[in-house]
């Protein structure tokens, strides 16, 4: 019994050591010299932009200058704050090289477009033009974003629910698997966007048609990954659960489904990827609203600065959605070892 106690305490210590954050490292850390360089490069960007003459045609637009000043102030603020709050020193040091690279990149972008004209209009507008869209055309951009998000979220949720339902029932019931699997095998691999001509005719509104397309695009991967997850659950989990007094409901909801979470989440990620694709293509080809439509429409007028602005918005939104899904996954799968980080 004494031995047993010893084992327990040893394990206790081990577990505690893992969870204690490393305070010593934070106390020692200082701001690096490299951390201050982005302040200089940002200033150079600003001076070049003001001082050099423009080669490209340019409207009266102060958005790039303003953004540079704001970023400079925020960055200086963060450095000043880190003198008081020691815990963010490491974070700033860590991010500084990246900020430096970005500041050099936009400086070069400004030079080769607006200033030197090596890249030509209308395809390659300078940063001032692209940033200017956010102040000039924000209302249309915002509205388009809203339409895209609404379509995406509604369709994704329907797609996920139907995918989970069919995946779970297929994984559990041989009969359902027998009837649905052939349909899945034939219909599933067709890219959802290939249905656009038919969907536009069959559905009364383009909104309903695009819902259908995205649902289809999400349903397939979610169904496949859920059903394969469920049919691959170790049989011994079910056996143990049965000897503990589990009924069928418990076996499905408390054993099969949680055991398949890792696989289900892969399906959710794949579904989200194809939902993004289908959304934008659907909007470009049929729907008369949303960011895809905005890109298409701006291209028609050769307003490439709007295309770039829309791409920035899309990148921001899609990345945030993926990050949220990763957060949910980390929460739900906290029991798993070695998670993929985003």
């Amino acid at each position: 019994m004494a031995l047993n106690r010893a084992e327990s305490t040893a394990e206790n210590v081990l577990l505690q050591e893992e969870s204690v954050p490393d305070n010593n490292a934070a106390a020692k850390s200082r701001l690096k010299i490299l951390t201050f360089i982005p302040l200089i490069t940002l200033a150079i960007d600003f001076i070049l932009h003001i001082a050099l003459p423009n080669t490209q045609m340019s409207g009266i637009n102060k958005s790039y200058d303003t953004v540079l000043v704001i970023v400079w102030i925020i960055y200086t603020g963060a450095i000043l704050l880190s003198i008081k709050v020691k815990s963010i020193v490491d974070k700033i040091n860590h991010k500084a090289p990246f900020f430096l690279a970005i500041s050099i990149f936009i400086g070069i972008w400004d030079l080769v477009t607006l200033k030197l004209g090596w890249l030509e209009l209308p395809y390659f507008p300078g940063p001032d033009k692209v940033l200017g869209i956010f102040t000039e055309d924000w209302a249309v951009l915002l509205k388009s974003t809203f339409y895209s998000l609404r379509l995406l979220l509604v369709a994704y949720l329907i797609g996920v629910s139907s995918g989970l339902l069919s995946g779970i029932t297929m994984g559990w019931s041989k009969t359902i698997n027998y009837w649905v699997m052939p349909i899945l095998k034939v219909i599933g691999p067709i890219p959802a966007t290939a249905w656009i001509p038919i969907a536009m005719v069959v559905f009364p509104t383009s909104f309903a048609a695009s819902i259908f397309l995205i649902v289809l695009a999400v349903w397939f991967p979610v169904t496949v990954m859920t059903s394969s997850g469920i049919s691959n659950v170790r049989n011994s989990y079910f056996e143990v659960a049965k000897t503990l007094g589990a009924d069928e409901k418990y076996l499905i909801f408390k054993v099969a489904i949680p055991a398949s979470y890792p696989s289900i989440f892969i399906g959710l990620f794949m579904g989200m990827g194809s939902a993004f694709l289908t959304l934008i293509v659907g909007e470009m080809l049929g729907v008369k609203a949303g960011l895809g439509w905005y890109i298409n429409w701006a291209q028609g007028w050769a307003e490439y600065s709007k295309v770039y602005a829309a791409l920035i918005v899309i990148a921001f939104i899609f990345s945030s959605l993926l990050t949220s899904l990763f957060r949910i996954k980390d929460r739900v799968l906290s029991w798993q070892k070695g998670l993929i980080k985003w």
Partner: protein, 271 residues
């Protein structure tokens, strides 16, 4: 030696008796060569008795245990728990595998509670969960996840998870097989302590003859091809037992002889 703080004060449970009547299990192969995993086995295990099944691989000991658990159906004969015929798995016959098979998505506490949750009696019996975690000596690990536990600790959780249901019979399928020698001996004592506290009937499958002798009232010796019960041996050594007792060695060589593993030299060494 007896640590009272770790006893569970529940008197509601009692063991059950197992009756195996002429049970056989044949696995049919597609190529026509049927495998007789178990042939005409008859065995009675009394209430509160500790019985071990030993024998080389393929002797049908795990098959017999799975049949008693109700996870498999016999191709001949019948099995009973007390007077009730065994037709499927049930919480009255708790099972612990060699692999702890903890649900990795549940914390230690939730794993132990899973039997009560499955039977929909968790809310009336919440207190049992912490009692059984204490019984197996895992206080402080309630919120750990299975991947954070050592093999011995995980097996303790598996034991607690089966015990919390107050099974009439505990079926142990080489539960200590994957543990190192020291953890193993320590766990043997833990299982004996739990058994003596609670009077549950214990049926243990093991490769380890010493383990069988150390723990059991009776040892069922099984032989392969076809799997059958060769002999049942009483272990007439008083408890608590010592692993280096003379009687211990005597019984050991007797079993080895029955399994045709004893050579003259080794026998004389033990005798």
């Amino acid at each position: 030696m007896v640590d009272n703080t770790r006893q569970v004060h529940v008197n509601a449970f009692s063991g059950g008796s197992i009756h195996v009547k002429g049970v056989g299990r044949v696995f049919s192969n597609p190529d026509g060569n049927d495998i007789v995993a178990l042939n005409n086995a008859t065995l009675d295990v009394n209430k509160g008795e500790f019985v071990s099944l030993v024998g080389p691989s393929g002797c049908g000991k795990s098959t017999l245990l799975r049949l008693i658990a109700g996870l498999d159906t016999p191709t001949g004969g019948e099995l009973f728990l007390d007077e009730e015929k065994i037709t499927g798995p049930n919480y009255e016959r708790g099972l612990v595998f060699q692999d702890p098979t903890l649900f990795p998505w549940l914390s230690v506490k939730a794993n132990v509670a899973s039997g009560l949750v499955a039977r929909k009696i968790y809310h009336q019996n919440k207190h049992l969960v912490s009692e059984y975690i204490k019984l197996v000596g895992l206080e402080g690990f309630e919120n750990s996840f299975p991947h954070q536990l050592s093999g011995g600790m995980a097996q303790r959780v598996a034991l607690a998870r089966a015990l919390v249901n107050h099974p009439k019979v505990m079926l142990l399928d080489e539960p200590l097989g994957a543990l190192d020698a020291f953890t193993r001996m320590q766990m043997q004592d833990e299982i004996l302590r739990i058994w003596q506290n609670r009077n549950t009937t214990m049926l243990l499958v093991t490769h380890d003859i010493d383990e069988a002798i150390y723990m059991s009232d009776r040892i069922v010796i099984m032989t392969p091809r076809p799997g059958k019960i060769q002999q049942v041996l009483n272990v007439e050594i008083g408890r608590p037992r010592r692993r280096n007792d003379q009687d211990f060695f005597r019984i050991r060589s007797k079993i080895l002889e029955m399994l045709h593993f004893a050579r003259e030299e080794t026998l004389s060494y033990y005798l």
